[in-house]
């Protein structure tokens, strides 16, 4: 089990532990022919070890840009990302990423098993250990029956499970997920959400889950970070005080879920009209706050 502090709404729970991942004043400006586009203005937040946080924001709010900066796939224009005390300059070893486009993130020329095994092979993990990790990961995502298939022989949801298995087998400290379930059907999505909660509880890894789906963010997360429109700042950072044991039926129909969902929805609506350019300077410097930005309306 991950070390978790009891989630309490509006109370600072992050200060007792060293953050595992720190995003410090990250800004990203793209140089295009027409000049500059500021995708991300100024983002600062910390992730504690073992935390499951969801980043949610309106579409076009620079979520993917931010995730790429955190993953070390893209350099930030200003600010830095620190993982376990070390600044991120390239993709760090302790991090794995699951992308939205499952069809384009698995190697189509390799079997399911080879796909999961390749990062371990590349990291020179011994064969016995490698086999154990691959078997465990495939079992954890419920795919131990199709190791020889090619990814494209599987359904979309199963392909995304393979991508999750690959990430899990790699034993990262931080798992980044970029709208991983945006392209699968609703029922599969519910299954995969429960899978993520299950994997997170069993393995105690830290997960940063990017989504545009408000329900999904509230259902999955211990904490939801709401982003503004581009250029992006943090709109709000809230703790989700739902019980740890979550269930598609009971959790989603609980009063507290509806309340939190409504609150996030409201914030997103505000966020749509609120960018870093028009918002008052952002107060959320790593400490979660629930100050709704009424003044921005």
């Amino acid at each position: 089990m991950p070390a978790k502090t009891t989630a309490q709404s509006g109370v600072d729970t992050g200060s007792t532990q060293e953050p595992l991942l720190s995003v410090k004043g990250v800004q990203k400006i793209y140089q295009v022919d027409a000049g500059e586009i500021e995708a991300v203005r100024d983002l600062t937040f910390d992730l504690r070890p073992g935390e499951l946080a969801c980043l949610v924001g309106p579409s076009g709010s620079g979520k993917t840009t931010l995730l790429k900066c955190i993953a070390g796939l893209m350099g930030a224009t200003a600010g830095e990302v620190v993982l376990s005390g070390k600044p991120v300059n390239g993709p760090p070893k302790e991090m794995a990423v699951v992308f939205q486009e499952y069809g384009r993130s698995l190697f189509p020329w390799m079997s399911v098993r080879d796909n999961v095994e390749l990062p371990l092979k590349n990291a020179k993990v011994a064969k016995a250990e490698r086999n154990r990790l691959v078997d465990e990961a495939l079992e954890a995502v419920g795919l131990d029956h199709v190791p020889r298939s090619y990814p494209w022989q599987l359904s979309g949801g199963m392909q995304q499970r393979v991508a999750i298995a690959r990430a899990v087998a790699y034993q990262p400290k931080v798992l980044l997920m970029d709208e991983p379930f945006a392209a699968v059907d609703a029922q599969t999505r519910a299954d995969l959400e429960d899978l993520i909660r299950d994997v997170w509880e069993r393995l105690g890894i830290t997960i940063l889950f990017v989504t545009h789906d408000i329900d999904e963010s509230v259902y999955l997360g211990e904490r939801v970070i709401i982003l503004s429109s581009s250029p992006t700042v943090i709109q709000e950072d809230i703790q989700i005080d739902l019980p740890d044991e979550r269930d598609q039926l009971t959790t989603r129909s609980s009063a507290r879920f509806t309340e939190l969902r409504g609150h996030v929805y409201e914030q997103i609506q505000i966020a749509k009209h609120n960018t870093g350019a028009s918002a008052p300077s952002n107060a959320a410097g790593g400490s979660p706050s629930t100050v709704a930005r009424e003044e921005a309306e």
Binding site: G72, V97, R104, S105, P108, W109, P119, W152
Partner: protein
């Protein structure tokens, strides 16, 4: 498909063509068009025996060396040029220039530079056969999917591992298309390389027959070239089906969906 059915498809048209040829030449006395039976006899007499080892084997050896080197060099430089942006910008116009040169005009030049020997012949084959492989590899390497590339990077798959596990397989279908073209160009150039200042080889022998009005013999030489072409094509298809099995499967799934 059953073996009998496959054989029928394979041999159906050739049999029909030979039959037509046979029927239309029954009463023919043309000096330039031999009858099928005559040609078959000539074929056996001319090519089965010493000539096979003296002319066919050396030619085919040069052809094989030329093809292998063209493929290896084409893929090697293709991966390099395709992966390095400034190298691509630097080399692309020049490559277009060299690609546009018809390889036969290089034969005299290469004869002077290398001398009249097998190396020259292999060089002629490479000079023409490398382009489809090289240019297709460059394109294939450039077209590696960005998400796949990001995935590989996040798992620390860099350098040689990246080439082996990501770049080469991903460019595979396009490289195969280049190799297919490379084979037929190589066969043409094998013949041409033997037509000038040569004293052995298939190209030399066919030209020799032509000049001495040994018409059935000349035709039988052309049949040998055709057979080499078929064998090359079978080897290619057999290999391609195995190496790119994933690609054909993926395409089938995509087309069905």
């Amino acid at each position: 498909m059953s073996i009998a059915k496959r054989a029928a498809f394979l041999l159906g048209l050739p049999v029909l063509l030979v039959l037509t040829w046979w029927v239309t030449t029954i009463g023919s006395t043309s000096f330039f068009v031999p009858k099928p039976g005559e040609l078959a006899q000539t074929f056996v007499r001319v090519w089965i025996g010493d000539r096979f080892f003296e002319d066919v084997v050396p030619s085919v050896t040069n052809l094989a060396a030329g093809i292998v080197l063209a493929i290896v060099l084409g893929i090697g430089f293709g991966v390099l040029i395709g992966s390095v942006r400034w190298l691509r910008a630097l080399t692309e116009p020049t490559l277009e220039f060299f690609r546009a040169l018809p390889p036969p005009v290089l034969v005299p030049v290469l004869m002077l530079l290398i001398g009249i020997n097998d190396s020259m012949k292999i060089a002629v084959i490479i000079s023409g056969a490398i382009w489809p492989v090289l240019l297709n590899t460059i394109e294939g390497v450039r077209a590696v999917d960005s998400v796949l590339s990001d995935s590989a990077r996040t798992y620390g798959i860099n350098g040689w591992a990246r080439v082996r596990h990501l770049v080469l397989p991903s460019a595979g279908p396009q490289i195969a298309a280049g190799i297919r073209q490379c084979l037929s160009i190589a066969l043409i150039l094998m013949v041409i390389s033997e037509m000038f200042a040569s004293s052995a080889g298939l190209g030399f022998t066919i030209v020799q027959f032509q000049r001495s009005f040994a018409i059935p013999e000349m035709w039988s030489g052309i049949v040998v070239l055709g057979l080499i072409g078929i064998i090359l094509s079978f080897i290619f298809q057999w290999t391609e089906r195995r190496v790119l099995r994933w690609y054909h499967g993926l395409r089938e799934v995509e087309n069905a969906g």
